[in-house]
Symmetry: C2
Subunit: 281 residues, 2 copies
């Protein structure tokens, strides 16, 4: 690039630093990193970041926190703007009300929603923003349908995603397994996880796409305990209210769905409402 004015240089820095924060959510970065990259004073970078912080805040894009000390730096905590959150949930509820969603065994077809990159991304950002202050070390799910959501939440939280398997695989090395009561048939099944996949002492967020009876979640919690880890929070995309009453630990759901019989139309329909994820503290 040709020699440029001070203002132009400053604008170049704020473009670069803005994209850096967005690309590295929940990742600590030092002033020195940017000062070295641009060969300029830390004080200039500091002013740039103050400016970006204000714009992010004003547009509800999240906060840029400053961590003091030698090991300190800045960390970007993303949020979904309120208006996007509302239109996202309204869109999902409209989708849930349409199409062929009710499957045998009171399961609900959700895969199409979690396949779409912009929906998946927005849902994951929303979920991550609720738990990003909990000092989490891993996001755990069980194969298969919740994996996409787990991966995206883990990306926003900048921690590993961990996928528990329903059956053993030849590719896993040594594993730890537990039995659990599978919701689909109320029978005892086995879930297992490679020993190398989850570090002892980890603080874990459990993610799943759908909760019916909660047997799978109880199984995941006991498996996580076997790894000497702690389940700190549990979040499901959709929970069914057509379920057996069973004591479950507290969990958050984005949506509650109920299968109701429409007498006039002579068919079952899906009704949805916002879940306790959105309850004010």
């Amino acid at each position: 690039m040709e020699p440029q004015s001070k203002k132009t240089k400053r604008n170049q820095r704020i473009v670069y630093i803005s994209q850096y924060f967005i690309s590295h959510p929940n990742q600590l970065v030092s002033l020195s990193y940017f000062a070295d990259y641009f060969a300029c004073a830390k004080s200039s970078i500091s002013e740039d970041i103050d400016f970006i912080r204000d714009v992010f805040q004003y547009n509800q894009l999240g906060t840029i926190q400053t961590i003091a000390g030698v090991q300190g730096g800045m960390i970007y905590l993303p949020t979904l703007p309120e208006q996007e959150e509302q239109s996202l949930m309204a869109h999902i509820q409209a989708e849930l009300a349409s199409g062929k969603r009710i499957l045998p065994g009171n399961y609900v077809y959700l895969a199409d929603l979690l396949q779409k990159p912009h929906l998946l991304d927005a849902i994951a950002k929303l979920i991550a923003s609720k738990y990003q202050s909990l000092n989490l070390d891993a996001v755990v799910t069980i194969e298969t349908k919740g994996i996409g959501l787990c991966v995206e939440v883990a990306r926003y939280l900048n921690i590993p995603h961990v996928v528990v398997r329903r059956s053993s695989s030849d590719m896993d090395g040594s594993t730890i397994s537990v039995n659990y009561v599978s919701g689909s048939h109320q029978r005892v099944s086995k879930m297992e996880l490679s020993k190398a996949s989850l570090q002892p002492g980890s603080r874990v967020l459990i993610i799943d796409d759908f909760l019916r009876n909660g047997g799978t979640m109880l199984g995941l919690m006991s498996l996580i305990e076997e790894f000497d880890c702690k389940t700190v929070a549990r979040c499901v995309f959709v929970e069914s209210t057509n379920k057996d009453p069973q004591p479950l630990p507290a969990y958050d759901s984005l949506l509650k769905v109920e299968i109701v019989y429409n007498k006039e139309a002579s068919r079952f329909e899906l009704q949805s409402e916002l879940g306790n994820f959105f309850d004010k503290k």
Copy 2:
């Protein structure tokens, strides 16, 4: 924010527009969208984007293309900066050379690499950047280990990710299935996919974490054909060179690994080299 000078407003716009492009890769956005958001002239937005385009280009962050016409707008095509690409691949090769990677049946333990959000993100960005000009409609993988990579590549390409199942599930609705020769046991297995998951006529990129004999990839291709879709490209993270010679369609691999016996140390070791993904055209 309080009323501010025109100069300050431009700074605010370029922060917002920069983060928007980074958050919406491969997604068309109109000048009007930003002009409405900021209540300013399209010509100002156009100047802002020209500036951002230059900064992105200079820092190898990707290109912002302009699509002319009424349905036109701008679209951001991300790339991984060359230096990041080199350090990424060097890091992965160092990881492959260390630790307990060789599993029974000549499988290679890779899950830890694809669990880490920053590695997964960089690998996915690299892969997506190679195929983003192919007008793809979906990214397809088979459960379970490649799903994370598939999800992240699909996010960068802004198209749905599709997960083929190895066994039927009660939650899938109606499915189409094919038989294939499973690499792990050279036996015939079944893979299937919900009919609603993939639209007829889609142009598909196949993604997998590991390729040994290619039986799974051939199975995926015939399943995709059953959906009246076209496999346009195939990409695997790691391929094994310890494989039976079998005619396979062209595919790209990021890394080739070979299991070799180290006589002095009396143990098997993993050697890796860059795959044909990096071949110059």
